[in-house]
């Protein structure tokens, strides 16, 4: 089972190494990781997607809690949260195929952010399924390069994480 964790950490040097080192030495797999500053510059937020059953999740959470620089950890269940990733795709495109590619991009509400004689760079945001779907659709034109961000996630509605610390 896949879990999305929102982890608030001190915005200090070495914190990412502490967290990623913990995952590797305890043998937990990180599927996706994204880090950025929160509205409070002293605090960063990591969104970590891990694969594992409830027992693994309990271990990950309690081991992470032991890191002094980790302030709070919240599990974001899919039904109660929204998540997004971003991907940039460089697709082969000539005069014959360009129009069709742009049409597909528009259906996915993706943006063309670079255009050249032989390629297009497409920016797409969405959940894992949507990014996978546009990749599939564009595959037959020839995808030259793909780069993805880690996923980020928020609770739906008024709920927030680690409120008292932010």
């Amino acid at each position: 089972m896949r879990h999305t964790l929102a982890v608030l950490v001190e915005n200090k040097p070495g914190v990412l190494a502490r967290v990623s080192g913990l995952f590797s030495r305890r043998g937990y797999n990180i599927e996706s990781l994204a880090v950025g500053m929160t509205e409070n510059p002293e605090i960063s937020r990591m969104t970590i997607v891990v694969e594992g059953d409830d027992r693994v999740l309990a271990q990950v959470t309690s081991q992470l809690s032991k890191l002094i620089d980790v302030i709070s950890i919240s599990d974001l269940p899919p039904s109660e949260s929204v998540d997004r990733g971003l991907a940039l795709l460089k697709v082969a495109a000539d005069t014959d195929t360009r129009a069709e590619i742009m049409q597909i991009a528009s259906i996915f509400r993706a943006k063309i952010i670079d255009i050249g004689a032989e390629t297009l760079v497409i920016e797409v945001t969405g959940d894992k399924g949507k990014i996978g779907a546009i990749e599939n659709m564009l595959g037959r034109f020839g995808i030259k390069e793909v780069v993805r961000t880690g996923r980020v996630a928020l609770h739906r509605g008024t709920k927030t994480v680690g409120g008292e610390y932010r």
């Binding site: 001190e10 200090k12 040097p13 070495g14 190494a17 080192g21 027992r55 890191l67 002094i68 302030i71």
Partner: protein, 589 residues
């Protein structure tokens, strides 16, 4: 220096802004160097002793130590400094402090830090570092010690600004000594030690990501009490956490109230008096048969400050198969890590046991049958070995040491010597048995004994050693000679790396691959070379006099007990077997 109770705001480039109201803080009148500030910080934390070794980047700090009234013990290898700080901490309950220079000095601490981490020992390790502008340039004697020690410290710091130093030291001692204790490392670049600033020492610290005092869940305690009342065959399984939390008397009260037998882990030895009829002594791989049988037949296992290590559980699936498990621990990450737990109770063992005791009445009705069964096992399967008139049995040496000095602090090396010490000495009090449990560090015992003796100068400290382990840190004979520290090193000299040899005998067809270390050193001459006392005992009749001579000597004594080279540690549960599948003396020939 003056004390100023007032609100102070600490603001610095790399640190957060925190207000402290009505807190006593210590402030200097004129700017002082980072080195001087560190000494002030250490004294404010009550540090009386440092185990250290100087080096290039530590020159400014050592210059301050020269005039300081902090007792600095010069070790002969930094690993020994870390082990000595660890032994000091285990013997006294205070934070142990070690100090090493950058690069190789710092990396030499690594084994000692890992050892303290595995056994939850409060140690603050301070390392020198190359000057801040040179960090990352592969400068002379540079090593990324905060990176290296990330997985083996509870937390670590690289000091980037001298203004941060007081905060960091305050936090380091707080983190090391609270919650589940552990080592904290402070890496101190040389320029930080010479930079000057207006020194302010905070009265206390606040960390938003660290809250060691979690309180206790009274509902969970009540459920534990009712599970205890419902059980017919309970066993208490006590670990090092009982000693760390100073809850031996609460444990004794619990055991006597509910009339439950108590077994301890290796690190839990001393938490429960072994003379008590409810004592099952140690469980696990080299535990007593009756402890292991009791666990396997129990219907309720009450684990207190123990972590279900593989040397305790053997085959996990077959461990305590009929028992419900109550797990009392301060570290939530230990719950369910290795075994399924029916009722976790998170928090300080002392507070939990106090609350549990107040929830329970003296029970007499219960367990005539259960305790009767255990007594029968004890009578049928006592710890035993075959005594000899010809050759010294190592178990006999341990028994004689106990007879001569039952109040000693016993420190051990790692291997057969450690297991015989655990089995044949009778421990009655906490902090009297000091041993490397989790990491199993050969070479730990002698430097840890030095630390224990420095921390408890009025106690007799005896390192029960093996000839292999002792050679890993025997250079510390120079430390005890020069610093006038008296410990006794009792080497159970079997001319082998004995525990490995035992496994080779039992599981590798008696192929003794690279475990014969006979005729490699004369330990008596070695002691004498350091201006210490060396004694050799070769016959059983010489054992008592060797011990009494060592006890009355005015300096460190090394006793070379030439023991039966083929003696094995029994009982023994082979690795991966259930803990009631036990090998015994004579069962394997």
């Amino acid at each position: 220096m003056r004390h100023c109770p007032k609100t102070v705001y600490f603001i610095s480039s790399h640190y957060r802004i925190v207000s402290h109201q009505e807190e006593e803080t210590t402030v200097t009148d004129t700017p002082i160097s980072g080195a001087k500030a560190l000494i002030n910080c250490l004294k404010s934390e009550g540090v009386d002793t440092i185990f250290g070794y100087p080096g290039g980047v530590l020159l400014p700090l050592y210059d301050e130590l020269y005039d300081s009234d902090i007792n600095h013990i010069l070790v002969r290898h930094e690993q020994a400094g870390a082990h000595a700080a660890d032994g000091y901490a285990r013997a006294t309950g205070k934070v142990g402090v070690c100090l090493a220079t950058s690069g190789p000095g710092a990396t030499n601490l690594v084994t000692g830090i890992a050892n303290a981490y595995m056994d939850s020992v409060p140690v603050v390790a301070i390392t020198g570092q190359v000057p801040t502008p040179m960090i990352g340039n592969d400068a002379f004697q540079e090593a990324d010690i905060t990176g290296i020690t990330l997985p083996i410290t509870k937390h670590n710091y690289l000091v980037r600004d001298v203004e941060d130093l007081p905060w960091i030291v305050k936090e380091a001692f707080y983190i090391a000594s609270t919650g589940r204790p552990g080592p904290v490392l402070i890496d101190l670049p040389k320029d930080i030690t010479t930079d000057e600033f207006e020194f302010i020492y905070p009265g206390r610290t606040y960390l938003r990501g660290y809250h060691p005092d979690v309180g206790i869940d009274e509902d969970a305690v009540k459920r534990a009490a009712s599970m205890i009342l419902d059980s017919e065959c309970p066993v208490i399984y006590a670990g090092g956490g009982v000693i760390i939390s100073d809850s031996s008397s609460e444990l004794l009260k619990l055991a006597e109230t509910i009339q439950a037998p108590v077994t301890t882990t290796l690190l839990g030895i001393g938490a429960f008096p072994q003379s008590n009829p409810l004592s099952l002594r140690m469980l696990g791989m080299h535990g007593t048969k009756y402890a292991n049988y009791a666990v396997q037949e129990s219907d309720l296992l009450i684990a207190i400050g123990a972590r279900f290590d593989d040397r305790v559980t053997g085959k996990v699936d077959a461990f305590a198969p009929h028992a419900k498990v109550i797990h009392i621990d301060i570290d939530p990450a230990e719950i369910g890590k290795n075994v399924r737990v029916d009722l976790p109770v998170i928090g300080d063992a002392k507070k939990i046991l106090q609350s549990l005791n107040s929830n329970l009445q003296k029970m007499q009705s219960r367990s005539g049958a259960w305790l009767g069964k255990i007594d029968a096992w004890k009578k049928k399967h006592p710890l035993s070995y075959v005594q000899s008139d010809e050759v010294i049995k190592p178990q006999y040496v341990v028994q004689e040491i106990h007879r001569a000095c039952p109040d000693a602090i016993i420190v051990t090396e790692v291997g057969q010597n450690q297991m015989w010490a655990a089995q044949y000495f009778q421990f009655e009090n906490p902090r009297t048995f000091i041993t490397s449990g989790g990491l199993g560090t050969m070479g730990y015992g002698f430097p840890a004994a030095i630390g224990a003796k420095v921390g408890c100068p009025d106690r007799t400290v005896i390192d029960i050693a093996g000839d292999g382990s002792f050679q890993m840190t025997s250079q510390e004979l120079a430390t005890v000679s020069k610093s006038d520290i008296k410990v006794i090193v009792a080497i159970l000299n079997n001319s082998y790396l004995g525990m490995v040899r035992q496994w080779q005998e039992l599981f590798f067809d008696e192929r003794y691959s690279y475990t014969d270390i006979s005729q490699s050193v004369d330990f008596v001459k070695l002691a004498e070379a350091y201006n210490l006392v060396g004694i050799r005992a070769e016959k059983p009749s010489e054992v008592p006099s060797a011990i009494s001579e060592a006890l009355s000597a005015d300096r460190t004594v090394v006793i070379d007990f030439v023991v039966d080279p083929m003696e094995n540690v029994f009982p023994m549960v082979p690795a991966g077997a259930a803990i009631n599948e036990i090998l015994e003396q004579g069962a394997v020939a």
